[in-house]
């Protein structure tokens, strides 16, 4: 058995870079240091694979050569008047860079899964800025950790041991030296290991954040409770926040996906900004897919905008609510879709998924999903970080190089290579 060290896990936004992988006959047989999410990916990536490019003809799939599939993609994209190009959080920065070029060339909209995930976070940050840091700073210095609307023990299982409550930092070394607060609508697994759990009423995060800001700014709250939380508790939390040496507020989709959306994020950022009058405090989003942060960064360096970029006017235009995938599909405006490393048929609200299924979809993905089943063209690709190299951004914006550790199945190439072929053919090279 060959052992490869320091493998970066390509599951969630933690991008844990200390994984040890054992390989025998081009197959992963052992995984060390990863969480159950990482282990499941490394040991099952070769199941439910698509091994041949295919095109839907008369309601059945016909296997075709890669060249024929690329020709069909070019035909669909060239004839579309308002195509959408979507996905990107589960592939490399290099692949996305080509995707942006394709979007510009064909005058389409390029959006990434941020738009139905932490899109409101980005809008909030663009509105009022943010006090942030890397996770290394949190690990070394934070003595107060808050998880708000986030359950890392399920969604980012090693976040606590690598970067926060259970990590051994340079200056803050033990769990005893850190206080952990969890704010959620349910007593999650993460809440069970917190010092304080605040059970908030659903859809009332904005109220509690505003009350905390008022308390931090020495206001006297003239209520018995806010968002189901007694005022004494709110005052206690405010005091804990003010008196810590380095606080870190980590928030999840509990804030972005519930009513209030970007206003919830603005309230959280404003609270952290207020706290910086007293102490050092940072705010960090808990990003889900392993390279969703990269999707924002790459789109931003090339176009100036982090997601939902519309090239139909001949220049990049960004207006969430208008140029975001969920809205374009709901309005029935797009007439073709190129989906890379994503499954919008599963993850969009049903009416939007139905509308999407009625236009020609090209999907580039390593494995079968509901989206590949309703696509016009399907091109299988290799897994970044397992079967091909690539760069990804960790959730705090640190770029890491992902390794190739085994060979892909015969004839399967990377998203980047497939996209380069499409781009080249579209340009008529």
């Amino acid at each position: 058995m060959k052992t490869i060290n320091n493998v970066v896990c390509s599951f969630c936004g933690c991008l844990c870079d200390d994984i040890e992988v054992g390989i025998e006959n081009n197959k992963i047989v052992k995984v060390k240091n990863a969480c159950s999410l990482g282990i499941s990916k490394f040991l099952n990536y070769d199941k439910h694979r698509i091994l041949k490019p295919r095109i839907r003809k008369s309601n059945e799939f016909i296997n075709v050569s890669l060249e024929e599939a690329i020709d069909e993609c070019v035909e669909i994209l060239s004839n579309a008047s308002y195509p959408i190009i979507y996905g990107w959080s589960n592939t490399s920065n290099e692949a996305l860079r080509i995707g942006v070029e394709i979007a510009e060339l064909i005058g389409g909209v390029i959006d990434n899964t941020t738009s139905v995930c932490h899109g409101p976070t980005i809008i909030g940050v663009q509105d009022i800025g943010e006090s942030t840091s890397t996770l290394g700073q949190v690990k070394n210095r934070a003595d107060l950790i808050i998880y708000w609307g986030s359950n890392p023990l399920h969604a980012h299982p090693r976040h606590l041991s690598r970067y926060t409550a259970l990590s051994k930092g340079r200056f803050v070394k033990t769990r005893k030296e850190r206080k952990v607060i969890v704010v959620d609508v349910r007593k999650t697994a993460t809440a069970n290991i917190a010092d304080i759990f605040i059970q908030i009423k659903p859809n009332s995060d904005y109220e509690l954040l505003s009350a905390l800001r008022y308390a931090v700014n020495n206001g006297e709250i003239e209520q018995d409770e806010v968002a189901g939380v007694p005022v004494e508790k709110i005052e206690e939390l405010a005091e804990m926040m003010i008196s810590c040496k380095f606080g870190a507020l980590m928030f999840g989709l509990g804030l972005t996906m519930s009513p209030g959306k970007h206003r919830n994020i603005e309230a959280a950022i404003a609270l952290v900004t207020d706290l910086n009058k007293y102490t050092k405090f940072v705010i960090l989003p808990m990003r889900g897919h392993y390279n969703v942060t990269g999707a924002n960064n790459v789109t931003c360096w090339i176009t100036g905008y982090p997601f939902a970029v519309d090239f139909s006017k001949g220049y990049p235009y960004y207006n969430p609510g208008e140029t975001t995938i969920a809205d374009i599909i709901a309005r029935g405006e797009c007439d073709a879709a190129l989906i890379v490393a994503s499954d919008p048929i599963s993850h969009l609200p049903i009416e939007s998924a139905k509308k999407l299924s009625k236009i020609p979809i090209i999907t580039i993905d390593p494995h079968e999903t509901p989206t590949t089943k309703v696509s016009k063209v399907v091109i299988p690709s290799s897994y970044v970080g397992i079967e091909c190299e690539g760069t990804a951004y960790r959730m705090d914006g640190v770029p890491l190089r992902l390794k190739k550790i085994v060979d892909p199945p015969d004839g399967i190439v990377s998203d980047e290579e497939i996209l380069k072929m499409i781009l080249s053919k579209l340009r008529g090279d």
Partner: protein
């Protein structure tokens, strides 16, 4: 029948079974479920493991009720992110780009008839292209 606030979200099983494969038995078993508070199960007169029908303004779905390990949260129902959950969601983003995936009003009742559709059956029923 009970009224609840529906929360869709990630859990460990959603992550691990997704890697095994979306058309795997594990994926359906782990995701076509709804976690309910023990008191809500009692109000419905059912035990963990029985089928329920969830209805919102946007759609309905039959899934298996599971007693929540994160209780008490009476009146809050949790369903993991999946195509089953998304049958219950509306498309409007209120100009934010983001549909509402959490905090949705729903009605839950015992599913006296009907069954939980597997992914292939669900795709055939909802998407005419298949």
């Amino acid at each position: 029948m009970i009224k609840v606030i529906l929360i869709t979200g990630r859990n460990l099983e959603q992550g691990t079974s997704k890697s095994i494969g979306k058309f795997s038995k594990e994926y359906m078993e782990k995701l076509a479920i709804c976690e309910l508070d023990p008191e809500d199960l009692k109000s419905l007169g059912i035990e963990s493991g029985q089928n329920i029908k969830i209805k919102t303004n946007y759609g309905e779905v039959i899934v298996k009720a599971i007693e929540s390990k994160q209780a008490p949260h009476k009146g809050i129902a949790f369903i993991p992110y999946s195509i089953w959950a998304n049958l219950l969601l509306g498309s409007s983003t209120n100009s934010s780009g983001m549909p509402t995936f959490k905090g949705i009003e729903a009605i839950i009742d015992v599913a006296k008839e009907g069954k939980i559709l597997d992914l292939n059956e669900l795709l055939k029923e909802k998407f005419e292209m298949i």
